[in-house]
Point group: D2
Chain length 300, copies 4
């Protein structure tokens, strides 16, 4: 198929390449010259211009957005004048599902189909394929099925049309919440082994032993085993953990639906905690202990 | 090799069969007639008598214990008179690592080598092999290496001699703590999707899409996908979750080592919560709200 | 001072009575006949009509809203045509502070001053006075200071003008978050004592002993002691705990500001948990345990 | 009454003084010269010798231990030769309740009565009196009731004989668990207000407003208000929170009794977290994010 890939960052460039390798005609679009230059070496066409790219595509067009959640609306505003009836726009990024539902309604007025596609797989997706959770119009999803079959790990695996508009990004949001919880579980377990004196455990060795046959085997464990093999004490890495939004949305959604999700929630809070400097709550706790019990305060 | 497998429960019988299939000479021992009868159909020798079994094995003997943590000491007491210098006893069950260290010291006095082997893989180990975390004397582990290579998923994968006596069961304990956290993360995520109205999500379909290419792919996800495919609403299953000890030990160890493990800890507490009837704390909360705010109490 | 109290529910009627007792001229307004009838016995004027009430008040008027957070906007819409320049409207309910800030901006356009006043004290406020956290214009707060001094436990205690518009309801929101955490802490502690066999503890006795001299003495403990004295086993009370919004806002705000608030957050989640029936996450956990370990599932 | 106070640390010296002021004949015993010198200025007798002190007391003797939990056994060993039938020994410190039960059994063999008395109130107890939770023999508790009535805030308030041996220290353990949870709840709430920009909240002012009439009023809030009034930003205080054992015991007991106590538990874990340097779990989380998503790692 012919497809425009808007956004040639880490994810977009890889996906464009996987589609190109899969025999699709891909035009990658990015306003950044550096991104275009790097992408150009991957074999697919690149362009700086949305207008020219869309003019070059056969109608009805297929346009894939792979841009940060924060710039989807402005990207759609740039796209909109160049779209025509029957075009399909897919948002493959980490947008909030309610935004996707709103955008779908907007574009319906222009007879453009909007598909929200949660995309998992990170930098490994180029080789291994991406897990895709797709929301939106059934007919459109079928029409561009070849795209999904190429991006997925296999034609018939790792992708699903999970529901109407919004459902794709909803499932991706939950996916990332689960990811937070799993990561935190491994992190705590390995930290416990790292602190255990006497056994002198080799964490990479333990991780490797768990990769085969154990109940906790997983892709995240495979990655942890690799990371620990390369840097057993994780030297030089700051204990500072970012979060990128989906975890927050998952926590808010769970509370909104009255579904207790303590582990996913705590996993997010631990990330906030990792970035905290000079915690005021800890200082107040120390001050209280001093007030009632005369316990010494550690000073800065 | 020649080996006695003491305990022909779900795990022991499977492991004996895997060893038998792998060409080892196995004698399975169990006091229960039913267990022996079932095991006998699997092809390996069975016996009701520890004494006769040990007498039949060439010295130095290899004896594998696969019994509940609560009866290891009494099983060792039964074994002890029949052991002789150079024998190796492996505890493959879920014993507390400090108990294993104590037992190792006891048996050292009798010149018997005691190996603690954390075993993961559950009922699937027969086909797929077991992940083995082994603690204890290096020379003994090497001498019986053929046993581990057969039980593991492959000769060189899924098993490791992780450290001195106790280290094997320590790693298994942590493994299970991580398992609790991962399970809880999935459970919360799927519950959130199950409660979401409007999208009419097919949880088995989502799970299946995640099995390939996603960041959360894992063996536990594979099992969840199977369970949800067979019973999408998990009908007839009570919301009652057992725990078997290792989670408690992990939580206690983490606190003992001053390592915060909030997600593993909460995962255990959620299991306690699942089994609670008529929570007193919730009733007191309701009573307090009534006291200060006149908020209505729901009565039983 | 002259003041209209809009809303004669549990809180509004009590506050109107406290103001009346304190020498203020109060007209209570409520559309419900039952509420008006009950209120009429308390000594202050009552009315069914906002229009008539506002016409009867000397200008500039003082109007206190004590209505559910969900109907503040419609109440303001009813009020608005009858307000004139210089009037002061105080929202004493549990409104979301961002809504209060928005309403303040709206009313500024009409030269009406909007004050947000977080009010704590529950049904005991009539006798003991209310703790008041006030946000909004300094001059207006000073002008109606007599109202606050009467509602508070003492002229100079238990109330404060904490900041600009929104600050009052913000502090009340945080107050309620803290309240959730404290309540949960007591609830867990008493539940632990209730489950302890062997000591046959009398929880009301313990609570009473803690009321004087202990580090955990508090008003919530006083109330708990009363509740336990009347009903030591909390018989007939369902383990079902409502939440009324402020806890959710506190959790969301904390995450929004990157402030980890795990205990307040968990306290909210425990309330969700208390209301859950047939937890899907617990059922999935049980199903997973069965899948990997063959552990028996408890059926419904 | 005549009483020996063994241990003249912060708590012991204050309690001895309160008893002395209350008209009791107190001999304070401490091996440390500095402790004795300071104590001597408080008006009661002091001694360096347990033997001389016990010889000087009329039989049956009353001996109060106020020593760290870790040295109770050795103190009892020193005391034991000088005790005789009918003597009463009270452990007023923070001993583990199971240790107290064991010590009670030991001393029963010597016909000495052992009383465990949980003592709350901290450095304020001298003026305000102590909350006392007493476990042990009913007759002995009655016989030395005058001691408890003097130490408590009032003759008939703030103390209770809560049950048999161990019950006193059990209740004190739970008391401290609750204390952790309450403190954490306040700490989180104030931290949230401290991080809120725009309102420029004066935390001491808010705390003060809450002290009267609010649902969260408590002694811990009074102390927090004082601390914030003196040092509004808690400058110079390190975010480092000690814990002294009772919290750990509470968490372990709750798990042991299958009582979920998530808030008390998390409060303990937050203290561990406050003392952590270069968290390994956070580093592993950062490493994993880099592995799967190519997300940048912050370096040290």
């Amino acid at each position: 198929m012919d497809i425009a890939m808007i956004g040639l960052g880490r994810m977009g460039a890889n996906m464009a390449e996987r589609l190109h390798r899969g025999g699709h005609h891909v035009i990658g679009v990015d306003p950044g010259e550096a991104a275009r230059t790097t992408a150009a070496e991957r074999g697919f066409e690149v362009s700086a211009s949305i207008a020219e790219t869309l003019a070059a595509l056969p109608v009805p067009r297929v346009v894939w957005l792979m841009v940060p959640a924060g710039v989807v609306d402005q990207t759609l505003a740039s796209l909109s004048p160049h779209l025509s009836e029957g075009d399909v726009v897919i948002d493959g990024g980490n947008s909030y599902y309610k935004d996707s539902m709103r955008r779908n309604e907007q574009l319906q007025g222009e007879d453009v189909t909007y598909i929200d596609c949660g995309t998992s797989g990170g930098v490994w997706g180029l080789q291994e394929g991406y897990s895709l959770m797709i929301g939106g119009d059934q007919a459109a999803v079928e029409r561009i099925g070849a795209i999904f079959r190429t991006l997925a790990p296999a034609e018939d695996r790792g992708w699903a049309h999970v529901g109407p508009s919004g459902a794709g990004h909803f499932c991706k949001m939950v996916h990332n919440g689960i990811e937070y919880g799993m990561m935190q579980a491994y992190a705590e377990g390995f930290a416990l082994m790292q602190h255990k004196t006497g056994f002198n455990l080799d964490l990479a060795q333990v991780a490797k032993a768990w990769q085969h046959g154990s109940v906790v085997r997983s892709w995240l464990l495979d990655l942890s085993a690799d990371a620990l093999a390369r840097n057993p004490q994780l030297d030089g890495i700051a204990p500072y953990v970012e979060d990128s939004g989906e975890g927050r949305w998952t926590v808010a959604e769970a509370i909104d639906l009255d579904v207790p999700a303590p582990v996913i929630t705590l996993s997010l809070l631990e990330r906030l905690r990792s970035r905290e400097k000079n915690s005021f709550s800890d200082r107040l706790l120390a001050a209280m202990r001093n007030e009632f019990g005369g316990h010494a305060i550690k000073t800065t």
